[in-house]
Each structure stands twice: as structure tokens, then as C-alpha cells.
Amino acid sequence: MMVSPRNLMVLAAVGMTGCMSFPNLGQQPIDGVPGVAHFGTLTPATVASYEDAQNRAVFGEVGPTGTSFAGGFTFDFVGTGEQVCIWVDPEIVTWNSYLGAIGDLVPAEDGAPGSAFAYPDNIGDDGDIDLRVGQSVFYTGTVGTDLEEASARIGNFLVDITDSLGNTIPSDLDLCSGTAALGGRGVPELCTIDTIEGVSYTAAMQAFSVPLDDFRLSYGFLFVEGGCDELAALYSEFAGNKFYTKECVLQGEGLIPGSESGAAAAQAGFPTPSWIGGEAPVIPGSRDFESNFCDDNIDLQTFCVTEAADVEARGLRCAWGEPANEDEGTTRCFCGDPSTLPRLAD
């Protein structure tokens, strides 16, 4: 079919107006999984131990919004004049494969593993969440759960202020900007906020990317009194003060897709699906995987080699980048495909 110059001009004019919306841009929404979720107004939990913190953790899932806007979840809280900590951990963990000296990759004769990150990551099962917190009055999004309110949208705290010369200056009023609330795919983000008594705050956790295998991003978050250092110290005490990464503090955020909401979360009025503490439907083996990853005293390669051997023994293969289906001979693997690494020395 020939496209006439006139039609091309019409198309160009429409494209250049800039006011079109693209409701179908990107991945379609998934039934039962919100693109944007809102947990209402929360009160920070008081936690005295690591077990306390695990029991007070909130878990949930978000998926694609079906629009050109990124999804995520939010909650509000009112300042008490004290510090609070928000700690969010997206599914699950990500690492860069070690590409150093080949000798390090080869297990020693006694079977001791090589480098901790010699094995590749399964890059299909990880997502990323960006944490922003600020005073609610500056929040540019629309709080709500998009399954109930179509206008719900994740925003930020970037506002224009006008100086005394009448000029406008964009100002980022995200209280977590430039703090530890920075992290790549699969990495927890955390932020300690010095609150002002009586002031309303909004925490906005934007789903920067969802896992490529099923487009459902599970997550866990903690909202507690005190600084995030104090929260991390609880884990440190629990773990015997050994070396660990922040991935350890909140574990079990890899959730079985399609699970029903937990009773406690439903009673709390949290959006569907969500869970509180031990009622979260954690993917079998997920906690063990995270523990191996975050504990500097354990070698992750041992876990990955064992996982690969187990999958082979069961006559299955890993479903990297797609949902696992054991009827079709695939299973979920936390570690990646070692054949993607450079060839080892003979």
C-alpha cells in the first residue's frame, strides 16, 4: 500500500502534538496484580530484635501498569519528631559474574570453590525499586491502587520553586536523595528520615524494572522506628556480628506468583496481593539462596553448583527468562546459565 505524502504529514502532525497518550505502550497489566498500590497511612513498627523485624515486614507484588508510566507502591505516615527507617528489598538478588583470572574460576583439587561470583546470575528473575520519601505536600503522584482507581500514579518530589528574582528552579525535595536509597537491580534501598512532628510524609517506591521472566515484581519492605543503622544492627547481632550485605536484613521477598493475600494483610486493609511477616508465600529455596548471597562467609558458587546438579538429577532444565513449568521440563533456577561465561581453561 502506498502512503500518500498528505497522510504522512497528518501522521507527523499528530505525532508532534505531544499530547497523545499511549495507554498500550509497554507490557500489558496482569490480572490481579496492581501496577500501582497504596498501603494507606502506616505507623512505624517498634522492633527490638531481628525476629521482630521479620514478623513486621510487609510483602507484596506489583506488575506492569499497561501505560507509559512506571508502577510501584506508596504509603503515607505522619512524623513524630523522631527518626524512622524505610527499608525496601526488591526480588531477589543480582550480581555481576566474576570475569577475573581463569585460575580463580577453577575449583581447587580439594573441591573448594573458586570466586564467590564465578557463577552467573539469573538476570531474568530480578527487578528494581527506587525509594523516594518526602513531605506529602510536595508529592507529584496520585496515591491509590490502580485496580480501584485508574488515576493512581507513582510520582516524585521534584517541584519548581520561584526565587526572589522570579526565576523558577527545579528542586528535588526527596529526603532520601543522595543517601543509601540508591541501588541497582535487586538491591535493597533504605533511608532514615528525621521527621517533623505532625507533618505528613509519603514514601514512593517506583518499580524501575520488573523481572523479565514473569513481569511480576515481588518485594518486601520494613517501616520501623529509629535509624536504618539500628535496624541493620539487629541483623548483625542476630547473625553473630559476621560480615554480611544489606541483602540479608530483609529476606524472603521472592514470592510465589498468583498466591492469595495473607489474612493479616487483608485485615490491615492492605492492597491485594500482600502479606505480613511469616504468611508470605516464599518461593522454596529462595531464603537459602539469599542467605548464601548475603553472607560473606559462605561461597555462593557452592549453592549454584549444587542447584545445577540437582536440576540435572531431576531431569529438568532451568527456565531462565520465562516462567518455569515442570510439565514442560523446566524449573526455576536462582543461578544463571554458566554457558554464558567465557570458556574456562582446559
Binding site: 527518626q83 520553586i161 526565587d163 528574582l165 526565576n167 528552579i169 543517601t179 528525621d194 543503622d229
Partner: protein
């Protein structure tokens, strides 16, 4: 004469006129010129040294009780433009005469001061030897011998190289630069241009400045402060002594600062220099990155006095020059804990 023969030269003239700058693009970008004047008091200091007592023959007097030389405390008043530390000059929509007890740019809701433009007089470059970390600036010394004499005169600390050998000639510093940085001329090292501040007829010191490509708006206030070297070692607070690879005990967030009993904290350098060559492994410092956005964090730091303008001249016409005067207006740190923090840092 044909029409063509008339139009072609005319077209050429029009194009020439456009290309030669007759066309006003409406940009508000200008190179702004002016002068900074620093009060003589800011370049005056009483130096306290422990000197051996000499007998009439010029030999050290010996204490008969212990057989050791007798020392005395000698105080010398030094007036020298080399005592002028880095001058930070910014253009702001507005400044307040008593923001912190001294004139300070007005801050936005996130605490930032939003400079339109700015510059520094004296920069931190790679100082070539660890002993000069955060103690030496560009545009102060004429040559390396003068630099060495200055530090020997002002500070009771012997200058040593990275192998802890005494530095006795300026050539040793120059050679360290050549060895480490692969430079071949002093111009490349950028530490020995001579002092840009010269004494004026009032006995104060002044230097010209140019703010390149400033975003100009009529009514901007030109504001400046001077970071003076501390009295014990000559460190500058606006220099970040340790980079990412070595920790600095100074607090880097409000939370950390409050834990140490102060509200003052610093931001890591934007461009820290790190030396990692053979046996040399250390941070050699770099400029802090937010001095003009958050000047208050640096102005009251340290045990040396910092100096600030009393008046901020208003800049109405970008083609005019302004004179910014840092007069006899020292900022005295009023928080005793700040001094403790700095002592630990050293």
C-alpha cells in the same frame, strides 16, 4: 544590472551580518568579571613555634638537669597573602545578612542555596606528595622552594615525602609531580603560578576573577567566603581529605553529625585524587562538591577562622564589573564539638 547580480551581494552582506554577532540570540549567558578584595586581617596570623634557646655563640642551650636542649615558645605575627585560602564566590538570587550570624545565601525548602553561577580563587589540584594533602592551593606560590619555605615557616611539622624522607628542596616536590603525574612542566602541575592576590593601596589583598559562562539575571547578589587554613597543620575544610577508598571520620550526613553532637557535616568530594602507584597508596584529597550549594556546612567547620562578606553587591549589568569585599568579618566556630571532630580527622 540584472536582479540576480543585485541580490547575491546583498544576501552575502546579510549572512555576514548574522555570522558576525549582530543577531541577538536572547541568551543570558555571560562571562562576568570583577575583583575580590580580602581584608588584611584575613591574611594575618600569629604563628607559635617551639624554638631552641641559643647561647651567645649561637649554640643551643642545654638544660643541665637532663642534658637536653632548652626550648622556648616564639610567637611571630605573619602577614602574607599565602594565608588566603580558597575563596568561593557565587551568584545568588538573594542573601540574608544574619542567616547563621553571618551573611549567607537564602536557602530553598531543601536547604540548598541554588547558585546561578560561581567560581573559586585557588583550587585543589594533585599536590604530588601526601604531606600536602588538602594543604596547598593553586595560584598562591611562585615556585616549589617558596612553597616548602612557607610550610616550614608556618607549621611546626617537618615536610616529608611519600617514603617519609625529609623534603629539603622544592625540587623534590616538583620531581614527585613529574614522577607521579607524568608531567613535564610546572604549568601542567598547576601549583606554582604565583599568588593571584596582590596588596592594594589600602593594605588589603585583591585579585581579579572571571566567572565563565554565567547564567546571568539582573539583580543577582555576588557573595563570597574564604576558607582559611587551620592553625595546626594548614588543612582546608573545603577539601575532602579522603576519598572513597579511605574513610573520613567527619560526619557525612545530618544523622551522623547529630550522633556526634553537631549539625555540621560534609559531602564527599566530586573529584577526589587517589594515588595508587607502586608503594604509594593514599588519597591526596579533592575539592568538596557542594560548597556553593551548601556553604554553611563548611563555613563554621574547623579550628581556623573563615571569613565572609558583610555586604553582597548586586549585579545589574553583566558588562559591568563588581568588587566583592571579604572584610574583617571572621566566622568563629561556636560549636565546641566541631573542633573535636576535626581533631579526630587529623
Amino acid at each position: 544590472m540584472s536582479t540576480d547580480r543585485l541580490i547575491r551581494p546583498l544576501g552575502g552582506l546579510v549572512m555576514t551580518a548574522l555570522l558576525t554577532g549582530c543577531y541577538d540570540e536572547g541568551l543570558s549567558i555571560f562571562d562576568l568579571d570583577g575583583t575580590v578584595v580580602v581584608a588584611r586581617e584575613a591574611a594575618t596570623r600569629t604563628v607559635v613555634m617551639r624554638e631552641p634557646v641559643l647561647d651567645e655563640n649561637g649554640n643551643p642551650e642545654i638544660n643541665p638537669a637532663d642534658g637536653k636542649p632548652i626550648f622556648e615558645t616564639v610567637e611571630t605575627v605573619v602577614e602574607d597573602p599565602n594565608l588566603i585560602g580558597p575563596v568561593y564566590l557565587g551568584l545568588y538570587a538573594e542573601t540574608e545578612p544574619n542567616q547563621y550570624g553571618y551573611r549567607h545565601p537564602v536557602q530553598g525548602p531543601d536547604g540548598k542555596s541554588f547558585p546561578y553561577a560561581g567560581t573559586t580563587l585557588g583550587d585543589f589540584y594533585h599536590p604530588c606528595v601526601q604531606a600536602l594533602n588538602c594543604r596547598v592551593l593553586s595560584n598562591r606560590f611562585g615556585d616549589f622552594d617558596e612553597m616548602l619555605d612557607w610550610f616550614d615557616t608556618m607549621y611546626d611539622v617537618p615536610m616529608v615525602d611519600d617514603l617519609m624522607q625529609d623534603i629539603t628542596t622544592g625540587q623534590q616536590i616538583r620531581q614527585a609531580c613529574i614522577d607521579l603525574l607524568f608531567y613535564t612542566t610546572d604549568d601542567e602541575i598547576r601549583l606554582t603560578q604565583g599568588n593571584q592576590f596582590v596588596e592594594n593601596e589600602d593594605g588589603d589583598f585583591e585579585a581579579p576573577f572571571r566567572i565563565w559562562q554565567a547564567n546571568f539575571a539582573a539583580g543577582l547578589e555576588a557573595w563570597a567566603f574564604m576558607d582559611a587554613p587551620d592553625e595546626v597543620f594548614g588543612y582546608f575544610d573545603t577539601c575532602w581529605p579522603h576519598g572513597d577508598q579511605q574513610s573520613d571520620p567527619r560526619p557525612t550526613s545530618l544523622t551522623e553529625a547529630q550522633q556526634q553532637g553537631t549539625d555540621l557535616y560534609v559531602t564527599p568530594a566530586g573529584g577526589n585524587y587517589f594515588e595508587n602507584t607502586y608503594t604509594r597508596q593514599y588519597s591526596v584529597g579533592g575539592p568538596a562538591r557542594d560548597v556553593l550549594s551548601d556553604p554553611w556546612r563548611y563555613m563554621a567547620l574547623g579550628d581556623g577562622l573563615n571569613w565572609v562578606v558583610t555586604e553582597a553587591p548586586v549585579w545589574e549589568d553583566p558588562y559591568e564589573t563588581v568588587t566583592v569585599v571579604i572584610d574583617d568579618n571572621p566566622i568563629i566556630p561556636d560549636d565546641a564539638s566541631v573542633g573535636v571532630v576535626e581533631e579526630e580527622a587529623q
